[in-house]
Amino acid sequence: MGVPQIEMRDVGLSYFSPKHETEALRDIRLEVKAGEFISIVGPSGCGKSTLLSLVSGMLKPTRGEVLLMGERVNGVSPRVGYMLQHDHLFEWRDVLSNLLVGAEVRRIDKKKAKEKALYLLERYGLGGFAHHSPSQLSGGMRQRVALVRTLVAEPDILLLDEPFSALDFQTRLTLADDVHHIIKEQGKTAILVTHDIPEAITMADRVLVMSKRPSTFSASYDIVFDEGPDLTPWRKREAGRFQEYFNGIWKELDAHVASAG
């Protein structure tokens, strides 16, 4: 087994303000293999998004270190793509030129990026929309465009920060299937942060539960279904062990919430 793609060694993070010091994360230890999909759930405000910011290099850890492919993270890495809760599509650009934002920032060859963008649009059912304005797309389509925008910048690792939470329930379920399919097909490593337990279970190979502040991982569940490894998130909701996982994670989370109250 080679070097883990993402590794966090005893990472801690504190926020400082003139009046307070807030310890957000403590003793975070994490290893993610290439191509693995992990979900992180936890009580709100427990620093899940902070953890993603650490992996992406947007924040520096106060203690410990974050490594990508064995290299210490120092600033925003081009290996990492971020998918945010809001799609942040720019209304003054059409869909295609929105897809090229990341490539433009990272100075990736424009022609190659454009080809890739058009290919991905076609591949994921958005073929006819390259020259539409974002305001003409539905919420689910906008999020898919946002995912493609991240992929055009060719990251190895995708960080998904509650990417479905702004959508209605129905769109959410179908989009989860799509995104899962796209990420698996593209062979990316992914970390999904969510507060939706079923979403966490059905998308990931492994679910990590975070405790309340100062947060650390309190439990880890390897998600394996008897029905086979290639179930879509939708099918997994009906799979035999789904309820068992759900109850386990629910209890674990409940303990944190109860002790917080």
């Binding site: 925003v76 003054w92 934002v101 539409h132 003409q136 539905s138 389509m141 910048a153």
Partner: protein, 297 residues
């Protein structure tokens, strides 16, 4: 699983202060209008017409009242002038005098003033966004400058810049602070939302500025420009009041000093006309830009 695009054709908002156009929705031609809808359209058209007519009538009525009051000596026309006199002296002044030259002078001063204060204001707002230090350091100065009545600076501008350029000094002094504050607050709003994505790609400040801040600020620029036009004109006229040899402000002051109410009234009317034109032009430019940057549905 491709959903049909959501294409909500929004009603054009009545920004311009013009009466609401009778809602001419792009009803597709095959759908026949129901009688109720047709009645609604008719009512709307009549309403719009009524409003426009009333406006004209109000103006005509006021002018007539003014004229009659002056003729029947209810008021002293030495003090109030009267519409017919204003009209004839307008003709005189344009044909023989140099009213148009003065209007042109003021118009040009306004244009230059707007351009300078928009450019300088935007640059300073960018500086404030770029450097938190600079913005923290300069914040109290901006607050004081904003509260200071800029007219008080008139003599200083006159001594430093001379009678011609002091007008620009005054125009910019009056409009730039508000320009800075409006553009900066727009930037702050954007920084909260739109920049997270750019950060995640590791964008530099210059990239953020070029790719997000400036294009995303277009609606805010237009709003600022609208405010700026009014303020700059105030500044220009104030500057001309204090020191000048030409311009509508000069004519107004001069007319007041030699007790020629006609001259004052004509100049004020020209000024009103000019601000209407300026506002119209800004509106038009604004609409063009909004369309270019797809800010309409």
């Amino acid at each position: 699983m491709s959903l049909p695009p959501v294409d909500e054709t929004k009603e054009p908002a009545a920004i311009s202060g013009l009466p609401e156009a009778p809602s001419a929705r792009p009803q597709s031609n095959e759908a026949p209008k129901s009688p109720a809808y047709r009645r609604y359209l008719k009512r709307q058209r009549r309403r719009t017409l009524f409003i426009q007519l009333s406006r004209l009538l109000l103006l005509a009525g006021l002018l007539a009242l003014w004229e009659i009051a002056a003729r029947l000596r209810w008021v002293d026309s030495m003090l109030t002038s009267k519409p017919s006199q204003i009209f004839s002296s307008f003709r005189e002044l344009t044909v023989e005098g140099d009213l148009l030259k003065h209007t042109w002078t003021t118009g040009l001063e306004m244009l230059v003033g707007i351009a300078l204060s928009m450019a300088a204001g935007t640059l300073i707002a960018i500086l404030f966004w770029w450097s938190t230090y600079a913005s923290k350091i300069l914040e109290p100065y901006i607050v004081v400058l904003n509260a200071l009545p800029k007219v008080a600076l008139g003599p200083i501008f006159y001594i430093w810049l001379g009678d011609r350029y002091s007008i620009y000094g005054m125009a910019i002094a009056i409009s730039i602070i508000v320009t800075i504050m409006m553009i900066e607050s727009g930037f702050k709003e954007l920084a909260k939302t739109k920049l997270k994505l750019m950060e995640s790609f590791g964008a530099t400040r210059l990239q953020m500025l070029k790719m997000v801040m400036l294009p995303a600020s277009v609606p805010n620029f237009i709003a600022t420009l609208k405010v700026n036009v009014g303020l700059t004109l105030v500044g220009v006229i104030m500057g001309e009041f204090l020191s000048s040899k030409a311009g509508l402000g000069y004519l107004i002051i001069y007319g007041g000093q030699v007790f020629q109410m006609n001259l004052v009234m004509v100049s004020v009317c020209m000024l009103a006309l000019m601000s209407v034109v300026a506002y119209g032009v800004v509106n038009w430019i604004g609409n063009l830009l909004m369309k270019k940057y797809h800010y309409e549905g």
